[in-house]
């Protein structure tokens, strides 16, 4: 893996920046890779357009931002419309199927639809939708190891690790199910 660029986008309040942080931390501190995470958001605390970008690499990272993402995680229709064109050929888009309906699906892009928010609600709190997404990212892309991601989730939510680890496990399972169908 030379350089993997990830963009996670949605609304403020969905945990988009936190997801980027946990992904970067899992790669950087627990998988021994290099990672950067940058963020972009508006003045609103909730509801505004929001994105985070992680670059993960085996070598030192010069340019720390995303140029052509290999993976887009879309948590809102607006984010999907804004960024899906940027995904590079052969890249992947993972979307929350209840929040995003893709216009047309391009041939050279893999689309995976995950009921992240619905799954989180079934677990008792929609706030963990971002962690469900992270779980599916791990099983669909293998960008970071399951072990590293588990450690990063525990490190981020020491007091709420049980719920978050459940969400992560569920997300991993959803991702695996989609892979088995292929």
């Amino acid at each position: 893996m030379a350089r993997y660029e990830v963009r996670i986008a949605g609304f403020g309040g969905q945990g988009v920046v936190t997801a980027g942080y946990v992904l970067g931390q899992s790669a950087c501190l627990f998988d021994g890779k290099n990672a950067t995470m940058t963020q972009s958001y508006g003045p609103e605390a909730r509801g505004g357009a929001c994105r985070s970008e992680a670059v993960i690499s085996d070598t030192a990272i010069d340019f720390p931002k995303v140029v052509k993402p290999g993976l887009l995680v879309a948590m809102s229709q607006e984010a999907y419309l804004l960024y899906h064109e940027d995904v590079k050929e052969g890249g992947t888009i993972i979307l929350d199927e209840d929040l995003v309906s893709p216009s047309e699906e391009k041939k050279n892009i893999k689309y995976y639809k995950i009921p992240a928010t619905r799954t989180a609600e079934a677990l008792g709190n929609r706030i963990v939708a971002n962690v469900v997404m992270l779980g599916s990212v791990v099983s669909l892309t293998r960008m970071v190891s399951e072990e590293a991601m588990k450690k990063a989730v525990e490190a981020r939510w020491p007091r709420f690790s049980e719920l978050n680890l459940k969400a992560l496990k569920k997300g991993m399972a959803l991702g695996r199910q989609l892979l088995e169908k292929e």
């Binding site: 995470m37 340019f63 720390p64």
Partner: protein, 381 residues
């Protein structure tokens, strides 16, 4: 009590690294007024300073915050504040007081879109001339420009050391991207971190003159309350610190305040050079854009173009002489800034008559490596 230096590996943002760098350097006082994208420095210091026996106070505004930094410095503490463009403008008057009364202190400016309120959540590099000339009168300051989270830690330590050594406000200019960007840092063991403390008087309190400089042009500094007579004023003052309106005293004081830095420029200036030795095309950059430049220079070299990168680590004093010396070997210079033309003027002055191409960036996104590579190719073709 928690540790002062948090030795270990972390995945953190530039603001966090800045706060921990300050603590490692021995900062004991933080005067806060929150502002995006610098608030996380205050947030971190609010948690950490009480753990290490320091004090954190949030003020009514940036004027009060900067005044308190000067006061804490007089009292013998290593003191700092952090802000962004609008707050930086409000601090200028008391920054001038710190310069005039030679109060060591560190001011961090996490730069966002400007002027005025500008773009609070977007990044810029818009205060590169303001940091040099924002307060009135003739003076020199030192300003450092990190380009990674690790360097934000390192240069914040360095900023305290320099402010203590030269008794001067020292500035860490962090672009808003870096302030909020996460990356790995390694915090070393405390004994591996060099710490400089201000020179204390060796005289008795009766002999001590607070503004009588040694041969290095820097006066030893007694703490308020240590029994030394310490009179301090923003007015032009003699060696006792008393106001003096004579031509001679103004001339001597203003020269000394500048010369204590000018004479030490070679020691103060820091740059990083990559492939500069045989470069014909030189890219000059600082902060996050310098990382794009590094990639572009690598790509240009792979194409056989003799490109090099000069990355500023100190923006002020500016490395004019280094650029002057390089200019004879250069066909072209490309300057990158996330503003509409600030330090590029210094570059143009230094490399004359070598042509300088300026690539400005406004509104969050830094230069992409490809854009810089295109400019390098154009210069070489």
């Amino acid at each position: 009590m928690s540790r002062k230096v948090l030795t270990g590996s972390y995945f953190v943002h530039g603001d966090w690294a800045c706060a921990e760098g300050a603590l490692a350097a021995g900062c004991k006082f933080y005067a806060a007024y929150p502002i995006t994208p610098a608030s996380e420095i205050a947030e971190r210091m609010a948690v950490r300073l009480p753990q290490v026996g320091g004090a954190f106070i949030q003020f009514e505004d940036e004027l009060g915050a900067m005044a308190a930094v000067v006061g804490a410095s007089y009292a013998g503490k290593k003191a700092m504040t952090a802000t962004s463009g609008p707050g930086f403008s409000l601090m200028q008057e008391n920054i001038g007081l710190a310069i005039m009364t030679e109060a060591p202190c560190v001011v961090v400016d996490v730069m966002r879109g400007a002027p005025s309120t500008g773009q609070p959540t977007k990044a810029g590099q818009g205060e590169m001339m303001q940091v040099r000339w924002g307060s009135h009168g003739d003076y020199e300051i030192i300003s450092l420009v990190p380009s990674s989270v690790q360097e934000t830690f390192d240069l914040t330590v360095e900023a305290f050391n320099r402010s203590e050594r030269y008794r001067i406000p020292t500035f860490v200019m962090v672009d808003g991207i870096l302030g909020h960007m996460y990356e790995r840092i390694e915090i070393p063991e405390p004994e591996e971190i060099d710490i400089v403390n201000r020179k204390k008087p060796t005289q008795t309190p009766e002999e001590y003159l607070p503004f009588k400089a040694d041969e290095d042009l820097i006066p030893p500094m007694a703490n308020f309350g240590d029994g030394y007579h310490f009179y301090s004023t923003g007015l032009t003052h003699d060696e006792r610190g008393y106001p003096d309106m004579s031509i001679e005293v103004q001339d001597k004081l203003i020269r000394r305040l500048s010369d204590k830095i000018r004479r030490n420029e070679e020691k103060i200036i820091r740059i990083e050079e990559v492939d500069v030795e045989d470069a014909e095309i030189l890219v000059v950059a600082y902060g996050i854009p310098s990382r794009s430049a590094l990639k572009a220079v690598e790509q240009a070299r792979a194409e056989g173009i003799r490109a090099g990168l000069l990355r500023l680590i100190t923006a002020w004093p500016f490395p004019t002489r280094i650029l002057e010396d390089l200019s004879s070997q250069l066909d072209a210079v490309i300057m990158l800034e996330m503003n509409y033309g600030q330090l590029v003027r210094e570059v143009e002055r230094a490399v004359k008559p070598t042509p300088v191409t300026f690539l400005p960036k406004l509104g969050e996104e830094p230069h992409k490596p490809d854009e810089i590579l295109t400019a390098i190719r154009r210069c070489s073709g």
